[in-house]
């Protein structure tokens, strides 16, 4: 049955708690992976775990923990957002190569807040070592891109096998690097 439902509606049903038997979730990280590398998302969705001692993983965790000390973190259904004092949602972009994935992750948070909680917020995309910050607003156009991505994620994670490996500028820093290329 579920195949015929629009993944966006399915996601909203899950968020409202109406889809206990057949939930479909998209986390912020999934949204980010989807825009960075679909293969990475597929691996992650299958819990193809990599080693805990892998340096790339350790690095990723550290940036997040130390970047913005005074943030307030809120768990809201399938997402966990960080709020600034003025109530704006902040997302840290890990590197210049990953701006777009981070922006889409943030856009997804804004979309989720709006559609699930009925709260309209702006977002801030920030980098811990660069002073400039970019404000992100949920326009109709951006909301549509978020919804397209939700559909894309749904299709991808239900595929039997991952898309083939394609060299990306951030492969070197990817936790799946060795797994992917060996």
């Amino acid at each position: 049955m579920s195949e015929s439902i629009d993944p966006v509606d399915r996601l909203l049903a899950t968020a409202r708690g109406d889809a206990a038997a057949d939930p479909f979730r998209v986390t912020g990280v999934m949204m980010q992976y989807y825009h960075a590398c679909e293969r990475e998302l597929w691996f992650a969705s299958r819990q193809l775990e990599i080693d805990r001692e892998n340096p790339a993983v350790v690095r990723g965790t550290r940036v997040d923990e130390t970047a913005y000390g005074g943030r307030e973190s809120k768990q809201l259904g399938m997402i966990a957002i960080d709020l600034l004092e003025d109530g704006r949602v902040v997302e840290v972009k890990p590197s210049s190569k990953l701006v777009e994935p981070a922006r889409m992750q943030l856009a997804y948070y804004l979309w989720y807040l709006d559609r699930v909680a009925g709260v309209q917020r702006d977002g801030v995309l920030a980098h811990p070592r660069e002073r400039e910050r970019e404000t992100v607003e949920l326009t109709d156009d951006l909301a549509e891109r978020v919804e397209d991505a939700i559909r894309g994620i749904h299709d991808l994670v239900t595929e039997e096998s991952p898309p083939p490996a394609e060299e990306k500028p951030f492969c070197e820093a990817c936790a799946y690097h060795d797994f992917c290329w060996c």
């Binding site: 805990r52 039997e160 096998s161 991952p162 797994f179 290329w181 060996c182």
Partner: protein, 330 residues
């Protein structure tokens, strides 16, 4: 890549504050740094308690236990949160599908023959025997494609290995002779070295497999249950020529191992503690050797090649991408 620590003396291994401490029977105390330990290899009679076991577990360190005459007796593996139902299911599915199992078994045999051949080619030029063996191995390698099932593949592997072991006596200096490969008990020095070295390869494969959440008991070429960790037998076959055999050739031919390093008792020829120490040391140095990896674009250690092999198998099983066995490429 993390290191292996070998303990040869008898004594007690204990947690001492945040380190591992070995208290030997003669009252000596040694510390083993744990920050970068992959596994401890216990060759002597070692006492330990549950406090040590939880400590090893918390630090993700395996303990591989070596008995006196059967060399490998078992492992205490850290949990590492590395169990995955999905992985085991995919492993079992491939095992249960005769065509799939056959293809995986064939890959292991192809890889093994290639790696045996690489050793023979390295020593080629010393005698005419080796040329003949190279040809023989090529013919046997061709027959892998025609083998219909695992049983036939086992036969192919055995034929190749027999031809391969036949070259040992022309590679090794005169005092050392393999004759034929015999397991229990090893009747001569070379057999004894092979048993010891292969047990080390096997234990290292157990560690590599466990790091990936593959179930070490579900295997393809070897029958599951042949040993507790039969998947390790599958992987170990690929790496024995690179690890055991090359270490053996080096140590014997450089006279670092001599007949004095063995004790013969009741027809059983076994390495002395000193002999095992010498072998393990060279073996560990070999694991740390590196080679440029063409796909990863960096140097990787031989030990890491074992881990990559487990990755490749897992990727094949869960993502359906082709599995290409390890073939020495340098």
């Amino acid at each position: 890549m993390d290191r292996n620590y070998h303990v040869f003396s008898n004594g007690r291994l204990e947690r001492h504050e945040d380190t591992l401490r070995l208290a030997t029977e003669d009252g000596e105390k040694k510390h083993i740094p744990i920050e970068n330990a992959e596994a401890v290899y216990l060759h002597g009679q070692i006492d330990f308690n549950t406090r040590l076991l939880s400590f090893l577990n918390d630090n993700g360190i395996a303990a591989h236990v070596f008995g006196w005459n059967d060399y490998y007796s078992g492992s205490v593996m850290p949990e590492r949160g590395q169990t995955s139902g999905r992985t085991v299911v995919s492993q079992v599915r491939a095992y249960d599908d005769p065509a799939h199992r056959r293809d995986l078994a064939a890959a292991f045999v192809r890889g093994s023959i290639h790696n045996m051949r690489a050793n023979v080619a390295y020593y080629d030029g010393r005698s005419a025997d080796l040329d003949a063996t190279l040809e023989r191995l090529d013919t046997v390698a061709d027959s892998v494609a025609e083998a219909d099932d695992v049983e036939e593949l086992m036969g192919v592997e055995a034929t190749a290995r027999k031809a391969y072991y036949g070259t040992f006596d022309s590679v090794l200096r005169d005092e050392f002779e393999l004759g034929t490969r015999e397991y229990n008990p090893p009747p001569n020095e070379v057999n004894s070295l092979l048993s010891f070295g292969n047990a080390l390869v096997y234990a290292n494969c157990v560690s590599a497999i466990r790091a990936t959440a593959l179930d070490p008991a579900v295997s393809y070429l070897h029958e599951p249950g042949e040993r507790r960790y039969s998947l390790s037998l599958d992987l170990a076959d690929l790496f024995k020529p690179l690890l055991t055999d090359r270490v053996l050739f080096r140590l014997v031919n450089r006279r670092q191992i001599t007949t004095d390093d063995f004790e013969t008792e009741l027809g059983e020829c076994l390495l002395t503690e000193r002999g095992r120490q010498t072998f393990s040391k060279e073996f560990e140095e070999t694991l740390e050797r590196t080679v440029e990896h063409p796909e990863l674009n960096r140097k990787v250690s031989y030990q890491y090649l074992l881990r990559l092999e487990a990755y490749k198998l897992k990727k094949h099983l869960l993502a359906g991408e082709a599995y290409e066995p390890f073939r020495r490429w340098w």
